[in-house]
């Protein structure tokens, strides 16, 4: 009796688990289908996204004839380096060596200025109590959304007055002074550090400058890296400033050189142009590959554009 009952009880349970198993299988296969659908669609879309960049790189390796014969193909018949060698010659008496040097001078000094000055100012806003701090910080945040393009004419008038036209000064000097974005970024980071650190240093006899240099600076290295990456990357891509202020070819940064090189009237071969374009992106690409995490963090902690 007991035995029979047990069996009877077992049967429906088995059935139920069978159904459950079947529905699990159905769900699993549906999930699998969804996963496949997800990956194929996202993969196709990301190929579409990458196509212009891949096209630029591959076209740089095509001969002039191949470029037109196989315009949209991504894989060149053979790796042709001629575009790089000829394109590097630039024009006039200046090779791309000059232009890259200029770019490194400009971006290097801007980056150095930002890394040194932005955390310094940020410390003032994060840790020192002074009159009018809140208002001034609100102004910093307000200037975050002031677009540089609006200052095109006003700043040009000023630098024209200073007789800074056709020098690096109008690019470097305003670029080195701490930008609102980096002040904000570093202030946010300094605010996360515990105040007890400061107090301990104060008891040991440190003033504000001592606390800043001995306690805060060593603790915000990631913020400094993010500051360096963004300021280098932005100043490297900067086009409008050089366009307005630089006149002599020998002072051209890469961005301006490419734009002048690509003048349709100049009849520059596409292959060379694309080869030099590819080269110009290499520094940014290296930063992207090595330091992607910092880039993403920088954008998300401040919520600002990249």
């Amino acid at each position: 009796m007991v035995h029979l009952l047990g069996q009877k009880k077992l049967q429906p349970r088995n059935k139920r688990s069978l159904i459950a198993e079947k529905s699990l299988q159905v769900r699993k296969s549906r999930e699998l289908r969804m996963t496949i659908l997800y990956h194929t669609s996202v993969l196709l879309l990301s190929l579409l996204m990458m196509y212009p960049l891949l096209w630029m790189v591959s076209s740089a390796f095509k001969t002039h004839a191949e470029l037109f014969a196989r315009m949209h193909q991504l894989i060149p018949l053979e790796l042709y380096w001629g575009n790089f060698i000829e394109g590097w010659q630039g024009w006039g008496r200046h090779t791309f060596r000059t232009f890259f040097q200029n770019s490194f001078i400009i971006s290097g000094s801007i980056t150095a200025g930002q890394v040194i000055l932005a955390p310094f100012v940020a410390y003032g806003f994060a840790r020192v109590k002074f009159y009018g701090k809140k208002t001034l910080f609100a102004i910093v945040l307000g200037t975050l959304i002031v677009p540089m393009q609006l200052l095109m004419i006003p700043q040009f008038l000023l630098f024209n007055h200073f007789e800074w036209i056709n020098t690096f000064l109008p690019l470097i000097i305003p670029g080195m002074l701490p930008a609102a974005f980096f002040i904000f970024l570093n202030t946010q980071i300094i605010r996360t550090l515990p105040l007890e650190l400061d107090d301990a240093a104060r008891i040991d006899g440190c003033g504000h400058f001592g606390i800043y240099s001995r306690i805060i600076l060593p603790n915000i290295i990631p913020g400094l890296v993010t500051t360096a990456i963004f300021s280098f990357y932005w100043s490297w891509a900067e086009f409008m400033g050089p366009l307005l202020y630089i006149r002599s070819t020998r002072l051209f940064p890469v961005a301006l050189a490419l734009a002048a090189f690509s003048d349709p009237a100049g009849g520059t071969p596409w292959g060379q142009l694309l080869a030099m374009s590819t080269l110009s992106l290499i520094p940014i690409f290296i930063i992207f590959i090595l330091l992607q995490k910092h880039l993403v963090e920088g954008i998300t902690t401040t919520g600002m554009k990249g």
């Binding site: 949209h72 002031v146 700043q155």
Partner: protein
């Protein structure tokens, strides 16, 4: 008696000490923010002030400015090309900005759940935005959509269409090619959306699933409302950057054909550096500043009708 005076002295000293400290802190604070203050005054306030003066003058850089009162502003109000550039900019911003934001949001939703390969995909979608502002990409765009470009070559091979028209050079498609370039760079709003999505509390979805909510309901009743502050933030930033678009229009179409892509900043540039009307360009700058300010304010003012703030809301 002796003791009391001592106490009094001490009190006075500490008060003086306190005053000294307060002043000292003010001085130190000023010292720390000085680099920013110099930049702010010298490269923002003074240039803006100067441009107000120049906007009332006729000035061609070479000869000294001549005061002409509000003549520049009257001329602007009658300038058909200026009006055209405002319209072009508005059309560009009203199409490109929402499109970019929708794209950014859709992809953020796709990459939100941790899956295999997601970080690679995210990188692939973000890379164009990193490189996108560069001259190199503008040059590439011009070639891709040119008369003998890759797009026409592709259409020819795949669909057998013989198209020789230049997409960047034809009046009816030039602006669209710039919109497409803008759309292509949705990386940074996407990352901001991703960060925002991660901050929505899980518990909301859990209680919704107990109530038997569908995924569509989840999206429209939880995700979207919780994300409105982020959408608002992105909308402000992207609208401003869309209205200020310059480099791409300058490099790819140079405002042409027939001013179809002469966005507002490009028009200001043309007057300043091709016609050398610095006074007129200064006046236009101030009209544009007002224009951008009004649009930003409109977005701010309307935000209270659609942006959901948790602290205010009654869940």
């Amino acid at each position: 008696m002796d003791r009391r005076s001592e106490k009094w002295n001490l009190k006075k000293l500490s008060l003086r000490d306190r005053v000294f400290h307060k002043n000292y802190d003010n001085l130190v604070g000023l010292c720390f923010i000085l680099p920013w203050l110099i930049g702010f005054v010298l490269f923002l306030i003074i240039p803006l002030g100067m441009s107000i003066f120049y906007s009332f003058t006729r000035f061609n850089i070479v000869s000294p400015p001549v005061w002409i009162g509000v003549e520049n502003f009257i001329a602007i109000s009658r300038d058909a090309r200026f009006l055209n550039s405002v319209i072009v900019t508005m059309v560009f911003a009203f199409i490109a900005v929402p499109a970019r934001l929708v794209f950014a949001l859709v992809l953020a939703l796709l990459f939100y759940k941790p899956r295999r390969g997601v970080s690679w995909y995210r990188a692939a979608f973000y890379l164009p935005s990193i490189l996108g502002g560069s001259v190199a990409v503008a040059i590439t765009w011009r070639q891709l959509f040119g008369g003998q470009g890759a797009l026409n070559s592709f259409l020819n091979t795949i669909l057998g269409l013989e198209i020789t028209k230049s997409w960047v050079g034809s009046p009816d498609t030039a602006l669209a090619s710039l919109v497409l370039l803008h759309l292509w760079q949705f990386g940074s709003p996407m990352l901001i959306f991703l960060a925002g999505l991660k901050q929505i509390p899980r518990s909301l979805y859990e209680s919704a699933s107990i109530d038997g909510a569908t995924s569509a309901q989840n999206f429209f009743k939880i995700t979207l409302p919780m994300l409105t502050p982020i959408i608002f933030f992105n909308l402000i930033l992207q609208t401003i950057s869309g209205l200020m678009m310059f480099t791409q229009a300058f490099l790819i179409t140079d405002g042409g054909p027939i001013d179809r892509t002469r966005v507002i900043m490009l028009f200001v540039y043309t007057h300043a550096f091709e016609f050398f009307n610095m006074g007129y360009a200064s006046a236009m700058t101030w009209v544009v500043i007002t224009f951008v300010f009004v649009i930003t304010m409109v977005i701010f003012k309307t935000s209270k009708y659609w942006v959901f703030y948790e602290s205010k809301g009654d869940l």
